[in-house]
Structures are given as C-alpha cells and as structure tokens.
C-alpha cells in the first residue's frame, strides 16, 4: 500500500487566521534583544495552478504590542513608525515556491511608506484538517531589514560611543492559514 504525500499547498485562496498567527519583530537593544508584535494583522495566500503562490500581509501600526504602554505610544510616532501618516505595514511576495519544507523568496516590504525588496526564508508545513472541517497550512517566515532604509532612525548614544538600538531588525511571522470555501 502506498500513501500519497501531499507535497505542496493545494491550489486556492488561503486566508490568514489572525487569531493564532503572530507577526513580530526583534532588534538588539543595549545588552539584549527587544521584541514586540503586532496584534492586528491580516493576510492571504493565493496558490495558482502552477503551484506558485502570492503571499500578502498587513499589520496595523496602532496595534503594536510591547510591554510598556508609553513605549507603544512612542513607537507610533514619527520617531519610529509614524502611524498617523503610515498606519499599515505591508508585505507581498509573488511566485513563491510553497513546496513543503524550506521557502526562500524575494518579496517587497513597505514600512513608513517606503517599499524595499526583502528576502524571506522559512518553512511551510503540510496541509492538515482542523476540528471544524477546514484545511489549514502553516508557515514560519523570517526576514531582516535595516530600519534606516525605511526612515525608522531613532537612536540614543550610550557612554562609550555606541548606539543603544541596532540597525538590523528581524521580522518573524508564524502564520496559520485556513482554506477559503
């Protein structure tokens, strides 16, 4: 007996399950790593007949979640994301090879109104049925950007001449998708 192994994400539209998904960032700050996440995210994965996929996602800057309310407020200001002018972060990648396993692709990310190419990498997990009769797939993706490329340039000098906040920011996304009916 042979078992057919599904090796790619089935054709169709897959909507982000925003409740279970996490989109966060991490950046070196002083002596450690500072992390935050965006609570309000949305996204979609479209897989075409050729097995290639388009992944698009959004995050609301106003929903940034860090442990201090004052810092969350500062992150929304022009020193950082400038939520009043640029309320959303956006990501899009086309021609994604979603064969199960490792993913590596070029996409475009928009932060603070600036769109730049970015390389994403990660893994896609095989489709599986959930308890409600729907098919699900998962993806764990990561990308690194230089925040200065997007005008997110706040910093503070520390004694000794170094800066408090690093330039490179890693964006981590742990995504759950549900097959659209």
């Amino acid at each position: 007996m042979t078992t057919e192994t599904i090796t790619t994400v089935p054709v169709g539209t897959w909507n982000l399950d925003a409740v279970h998904s996490t989109v966060g960032f991490e950046v070196k700050y002083l002596v450690g790593t500072f992390r935050g996440q965006f609570r309000d995210v949305d996204g979609r994965l479209e897989v075409d007949e050729s097995g290639r996929a388009t992944l698009e996602g959004y995050a609301r800057v106003a929903s940034v979640d860090v442990k201090d309310e004052q810092l969350a407020g500062h992150l929304q200001t022009p020193d950082f994301f400038d939520a009043e002018r640029f309320p959303e972060l956006h990501f899009r990648a086309e021609g994604l090879d979603v064969t199960m396993g490792e993913v590596r692709a070029q996409g475009e990310i928009t932060i603070k109104g600036v769109t730049k190419p970015v390389e994403i990498s990660g893994t896609v997990t095989p489709p599986a049925p959930d308890a409600y009769g729907k098919q699900r797939v998962g993806a764990v993706l990561t990308a690194t950007v230089n925040r200065h490329d997007f005008g997110v340039s706040w910093n503070a000098p520390v004694p000794g001449g170094d800066m408090a906040l690093a330039d490179d920011v890693t964006i981590n996304a742990e995504l759950f998708f549900t097959k659209a009916e």
Partner: protein
C-alpha cells in the same frame, strides 16, 4: 492655519524672539502667527501639582499648543543644551504623554546665540525632546551664530542666507501642517457618516 512661536529665551530683547518675528514675516499667505509669551509663569514641574485642574499657566500653555496647527521653537543655548525654562514647559506639556498637545503635530526648531555656533547643540537637543513627545519634527536646524551681527538696530534679521534657511524651514513646517490636514480630511472622507 495657526503657527505658534515659542522662544526659549525670556529676555526682553531676545534674539530668539526676533528670529521668531522674522519667521512670522516669511510665512506664506493663509498662515497666521502668534507668539506664546507665558513661559516665565509656568511653575517648576512637580508631579504632585500635575493634577486637574492644572495650574493656570500650564493650562494656558497646553491650550495654546493644542490650538496651534504647527509650532516653531527658537532656542538659545545654555551650557550646551536647551534652557531649563523651555525644558520645564515641555515637560508640563508632555503630560499625559499619549494625549499631549504636540503628539503628531508638525514642529520646527531654529535658534540664535551670541557665540559662533548658533545654538546648534540646543537645537539638536530640542529636536530629540520633541521627538520623544511624538511630534513630527521638521528636518533641519537654523543656527544663527554671532546673533548681534545678524539683526539691525530695529531688530530685523538682515542676514540673507539665514533668512533663506529660515524661509525654507517655515515653508516645510507649513507644508507638513497642510499634509497632515489633507491626510485627516482624506480619512474623514472614507469613514462612514456618524
């Protein structure tokens, strides 16, 4: 459009007040200018006093900032930084941080000093402080060094290069106010009525 001027110097014949007056002349049509004169009356910041109703000079400061569409600061430099009286007023204005009257508000910074460097450190310091409040801090500073040589006897700014830089700064300030207003009306247009 209302542009508010705030001088960090209280002195009667302050060069920074003159700098604000020069900036007022350079504002485009449609923009009005008012100078805040109540800085000296603002008491030292004390969290115990930071209650409602706020001390009258503080309430006036907050209301005046809130009513302005953009703010132009002109600061001297005291001991390589901004004057305590200006920082004190900003500290009052910053509370509570999330709803402070300069959050997302376009602000610009210029400064005059009698020394050679034109309060450039104080201006950078002030830009940092205003950024911490969440203001949209317009790029650039306008250092007016050796201030007594830049104004004539009537107090008019006569240095054409500085006048040009100051003109650029206020135009950028006004443009940021207009952009913000356009953004707000665009948002209002897409929101459902009610």
């Amino acid at each position: 459009m209302k542009i508010l001027g705030v001088s960090g110097s209280l002195r009667r014949d302050s060069y920074n007040v003159r700098l604000l007056e020069a900036a007022a002349e350079l504002l485009p049509e449609g923009a009005t200018f008012e100078r805040f004169g109540g800085l000296k009356a603002v008491p030292p910041y004390d969290e115990d006093d930071d209650v409602e109703p706020a001390p009258e000079p503080v309430a006036r400061l907050r209301e005046t900032l809130a009513a302005a569409d953009g703010v132009l600061f002109a600061t001297p430099e005291y001991n390589s930084s901004i004057p305590g009286v200006l920082k004190n007023a900003i500290d009052w204005a910053s509370r509570p941080l999330m709803t402070n009257p300069v959050r997302f508000k376009p602000v610009a910074v210029a400064g005059a000093s009698t020394g050679a460097f034109g309060a450039v450190w104080a201006q950078e310091e002030l830009r940092k402080v205003l950024g911490a409040l969440g203001a949209r801090v317009i790029e650039g500073v306008v250092p007016v060094g050796r201030a007594p040589t830049r104004f004539d006897e009537s107090g008019r700014l006569v240095d054409e290069e500085i006048r040009g830089d100051l003109g650029d700064l206020v135009r950028n300030l006004v443009a940021a106010v207009e952009e913000r207003r356009d953004g707000a009306s665009a948002e209002a247009a897409v929101l459902p009525a009610g």
